[in-house]
Symmetry: C2
Subunit: 348 residues, 2 copies
């Protein structure tokens, strides 16, 4: 697969983003939703922050306090054997788990799709009991003139997916939890098919150790049902451990083109593609055997969580797939693939 990576990569780095508070630092900017708004490319960035910590004896993190209506700090002693810090993303205690960072969503705008102006303030941040550990990984789908944002909300209640909508990326409406725990990687189709909305989602089955992509239908984008399992990991493949919907599906003459992510047993995240029937999107027409984008550049191999390329959005313009992706859970990168190359890879 011929991949054009921007020589400006990473196009947005943590140091480009102003922290939401003076006592916080930005440790990652990644997994952005993408939309075209008039003559601009708009990114809805996931910005991960943590409190600036001057005490090496503790790990400091931040949690949204529903009663106080604000983010408060929490401190965990490194000397306490009940605090498990082995996963850099988590603080695991016997009866509780916390995240080491809290994410919010931030807008960035660009005329050329490469150089972005990043707003100083969050667009959407933790605001209720389902979001106390932050909001993550927005995926934007334009449907009938409204931008719908499916985003991950994390709290002690579980990992859920919520829906927000906006016409202008200035005012937002929240529609609540649309997929209950544990579910993320939700990507809405951009139009109704035979009178129904469709979404891809990624529920977790702990008993059967499954992380498969499912498809659901809806009359209203809020209530989802008739869930069908669509796609599982490929045994021995680059996506053997788990998979999830990447960018929202793109309509092509050949079918719905779906870029998805997969991880192997070493937690190396790559992107692949699958083609779904235009009228029956629960039917798989083709799937790439090999990744179409994999961690190769330094900025993809090293970072907060290395060996990761992960997309929440792309622009399909002409014959080009303009992919915005998170690299190593640290920074935003840009790559172009030729649509025909991807279709050819799907056919073989």
């Amino acid at each position: 697969m011929k991949v054009f990576r921007s020589p400006e990569n990473p196009i947005i780095r943590p140091e480009d983003v102003k922290p939401s508070r003076e006592d916080f630092e930005v440790i990652g900017v990644f997994n952005a939703g993408v939309a075209r708004l008039a003559d601009e490319v708009l990114l809805l960035l996931r910005v991960a922050e943590r409190p600036i910590n001057k005490n090496p004896q503790v790990v400091l993190t931040a949690v949204y306090d529903v009663d106080k209506g604000q983010v408060v700090l929490k401190e965990f002693s490194k000397a306490d054997p009940e605090n498990d810090f082995s996963d850099p993303r988590l603080i695991v205690r016997p009866a509780e788990t916390f995240l080491t960072s809290i994410s919010h969503l931030r807008i960035a705008r660009s005329k050329d799709g490469i150089k972005f102006d990043i707003e100083d303030k969050p667009a959407l941040g933790a605001a209720n009991e389902y979001e106390t550990f932050g909001v993550e990984d927005p995926r934007i789908t334009l449907i009938d003139g409204i931008y719908y944002i499916a985003y991950v909300a994390v709290s002690p209640a579980g990992v859920t997916t919520c829906l927000a909508s906006t016409k202008d990326f200035v005012e937002y409406k929240r529609h609540g939890v649309i997929f209950c725990p544990e579910n993320k990687d939700v990507a809405l189709f951009p139009e109704k098919i035979d009178g129904k909305y469709y979404a891809l989602h990624r529920p977790v089955s702990p008993l059967f150790k499954k992380h498969d992509i499912w498809i659901a239908e809806s009359p209203d984008l809020v209530c989802w049902g008739n869930h069908r399992r669509l796609l599982g990991p490929q045994k021995g493949g680059w996506d053997e451990l788990k998979i999830g919907a990447g960018a929202p599906p793109v309509k092509t003459n050949e079918g719905w083109l779906k870029i998805y992510h997969g991880a192997d047993k070493q937690n190396r995240y790559c992107l692949g593609a699958v083609l779904l029937d235009l009228n029956k999107p629960w039917k798989i027409l083709a799937r790439t055997a090999q990744p179409i984008l994999e961690p190769e550049a330094d900025y993809e191999c090293s970072g907060f969580f290395g060996n990761v390329v992960f997309t929440c959005g792309l622009l399909a313009e002409g014959d080009i797939l303009k992919i915005y992706y998170g690299a190593a859970d640290s920074a935003i990168c840009y790559a172009e693939l030729n649509l025909k190359d991807v279709i050819t890879a799907l056919r073989h």
Copy 2:
């Protein structure tokens, strides 16, 4: 709490149920849905079966084969160290998990609610890729003259809840998966509230180790959204480990009365009650501190999975709650509680 247990308990035992095949044996009949149909009490029994096994070197189980359209046998060597039989319900292998039995749903009818005639053939059995390990724990709700059956479907894709409907318990319509993995203990409310259907459900959050009861709304009983967390385990209580919706909610003057099950850290299952606001069922008005029914009788303390009382259905008739419940995952029992006693317990 004054509990009247039927002196006929268990009212239905495994030996009362004819196996669905000559080479199978019934190992449990429990967790039945309940409906009143004209002058009869109808139970939709969960019947758990396994192949009769004459070889002590192996564990034999049965799985529905989608391609063959029938249940086939599977054999697991006791000598193979990769087969973990430590949970009597499961065969756990490094990359796969199987159940030691396969369940189907069977009808039993009674004039007096105690002596039941049990049909010879299954009413609903494994029939598609979501049900290959069987169908379990039906909960019946009568809505506008149609009996809706929310039942658990188990397969390698995960533990899901599916919906079926019937007018007569002769012909059934399947409506697909209404709650995706991992979700069970789904109980539908018997009427719309402010124009929407409601259901209680019990998703699982492996990351945060949660087994809480949530409430969702729907326009059509198939698609569910606006999920809200309703009720969690009580720290140090009889329901400390996990909880789940028991019988479908009962409308009372005081609010929606919901009998639920909870397990403590020793996996001892009891029943408790919670009262929900009539017009805003996501609001909890009261909750019993102590169980209203707990395993005390021999048939509740010993069996396939001992120390369990578990209900999927009850009849609220006059001032009496007529509770049908599974005892020790083995047999069906019957108990009566006085509605006023339960309301009084809720108030204190």
